[in-house]
């Protein structure tokens, strides 16, 4: 009996202990299992989010605004005719352009930017770039032809300090072709090149130029390029020169021999003189079309003129980025003078200049509210015998514009 008691006592103790431990053990096992499930889920999440070589994203910009416009046209010996307009998002200054960027690998980038400008749905660019070497990118497709700095770098609404564009900087625009570009260190300095071979321009019957498009109008191609030098180590100054040559006449037309030469120069200076950030930009374009005889309009005889156009702008903006006041440091003052002269004795000849005054408020680094007051004056030099309209046109406009990059 005593022996039985000796045996039963430890056994009961062990059983009691087991009974006590068993729920805790079960709980521990469940916790381990839950932890394992959580780890597995996290591993899957990490695997799903691994960077990979390929990457797709959407960026872009939108610009919206209100403009009130007063146009006064004064014909020879006549009183001025006044026309006023007020509109939201006028065609020249409204834009919604989502930009699709697809990084196929670290050497290949596809860029596509459709754009809605209020009237049409177009494409700003659609091209593929191969990063062949540290200072060599090869580009193919539909892209902004390298010429000057405005079209390629400054025209976007969230970058431009003023609501409108300076006149005369549309050419050579965007075209189909191939291009090569790169930035190259040069000791303390840096230089860059951007050259392209594209379908080129098309000379219209009135002497104006437009892009030939994907269905080229002749066998010739347009060679265009911009070379720039940044002479200071802090890259505050960039000086660029541009040139282009293109056959422009339609094959088999009277303009078969027509060619276009373009010349350009640009400057970009950005430096902080504490507390003011000073931003100066400028560009000069000259377009020369070889001598041609143009078909007379409305029964008038054929005629000719020196088909040379020039455009220039100089812009300065000041922003007190170094002050402590949170409101003031986001205010920027801007001024731009621009001129645009088109050929005298053409049907579209005029000498014009424009002054733009602006006050911008930066809501963030890529969101801006702009107030711009613009005054322009144009004197027609058009050929009245061919249907051109002589006279003077004065335009004053007030813009309130919002632009954001997303």
């Amino acid at each position: 009996m005593k022996l039985l008691r000796i045996l039963i006592c430890p056994l009961t103790s062990v059983l009691g202990l087991m009974a006590a431990i068993s729920p805790a053990y079960a709980q521990q096992t469940a916790a381990d299992s839950a932890l394992q499930d959580r780890i597995t889920a996290l591993e899957q999440q990490v695997a799903d989010q691994k960077p990979g070589e390929s990457h797709f994203m959407v960026a872009g910009l939108t610009t919206f605004g209100y403009v009130t416009n007063k146009t006064t046209f004064t014909g020879p010996g006549a009183a001025g005719q006044i026309m006023r307009t007020n509109s939201f998002g006028d065609a020249d200054h409204y834009e919604l352009s989502p930009m699709l960027l697809w990084r196929h690998s670290n050497n290949l980038l596809v860029e596509f930017e459709p754009s809605f400008d209020g009237n049409t749905l177009g494409v700003n660019w659609a091209n593929v770039t191969y990063f062949a070497a540290p200072a060599l990118q090869v580009r193919a497709g539909y892209f902004v032809v390298p010429f000057g700095i405005y079209n390629k770098r400054l025209a976007a609404g969230w970058i431009d300090k003023l609501a409108g564009d300076p006149n005369g900087f549309d050419s050579p625009g965007t075209d189909f072709g191939i291009g090569f570009s790169g930035g190259v260190p040069l000791g303390d300095m840096k230089w860059s090149y951007d050259v392209s071979l594209t379908n080129g321009l098309q000379l219209l019957p009135d002497g104006e130029l437009q892009n030939a498009g994907i269905a080229d109008n002749n066998k010739g191609k347009m060679i265009s390029g911009r070379f720039s030098l940044l002479p200071f180590s802090n890259s505050c100054l960039e000086i660029g020169v541009s040139g282009a040559h293109s056959n422009a006449g339609d094959a088999g037309s009277n303009f078969t021999s027509a060619s276009v030469n373009m010349y350009g120069a640009d400057i970009n200076f950005v430096k902080s003189f504490d507390p003011i950030l000073v931003n100066v930009k400028g560009q000069y374009n000259r377009i020369e079309v070889s001598g041609q005889t143009y078909p007379g309009q409305n029964g008038a005889p054929d005629y000719t003129f020196s088909n040379v156009s020039s455009a220039a702008f100089a812009q300065i903006s000041l922003r007190p980025t170094g002050v402590d006041d949170k409101f003031l440091k986001n205010v920027e003052l801007a001024y731009r003078y621009s001129s645009y002269n088109t050929p005298a004795n053409s049907t579209w000849g005029a000498n014009s200049h424009q002054n733009d005054f602006g006050v911008d408020y930066w809501l963030s680094w890529r969101t801006v509210l702009k107030f711009t007051y613009s005054l322009s004056h144009a004197v027609s030099t058009a050929n009245a015998d061919q249907g051109g309209t002589p006279g003077i046109t004065d335009v004053s406009a007030v813009y309130l514009q919002f632009s954001v990059e997303f």
């Binding site: 930035g183 070379f227 505050c236 970009n268 890529r366």
Partner: protein, 91 residues
């Protein structure tokens, strides 16, 4: 004849520029002063040439790599500048 001369000269000019470019591509090196620049410094100096300096928080790591490639083609950044600026923006 005149047109042909202009065209020939243009081709020669472009070809010369291209050859010089190729030579320079292999021959140019940056000074130590430039090589020592940080990503933050290059970000401050180069981005504001065209637009305000972007906030690093605006895009994800992967997006900055893609944007870096896009900006290299826009502003003709050197490859080292691009890599350093992207690395800074990814922090």
């Amino acid at each position: 004849m005149k047109r042909k001369n202009i065209k020939t000269k243009a081709w020669i000019a472009i070809a010369s520029a291209f050859i010089v470019s190729l030579i320079v591509l292999n021959g140019c090196v940056e000074s130590k002063k430039i090589a020592d620049k940080s990503g933050a410094q290059l970000w401050a100096e180069n981005c504001q040439r065209c637009h305000n300096t972007p906030s690093p928080a605006s895009f994800s790591h992967g997006q900055w790599v893609t944007i870096g490639m896009h900006m290299q083609t826009r502003a003709q950044l050197t490859a080292k500048e691009r890599d350093k600026i992207v690395a800074f923006l990814q922090q």
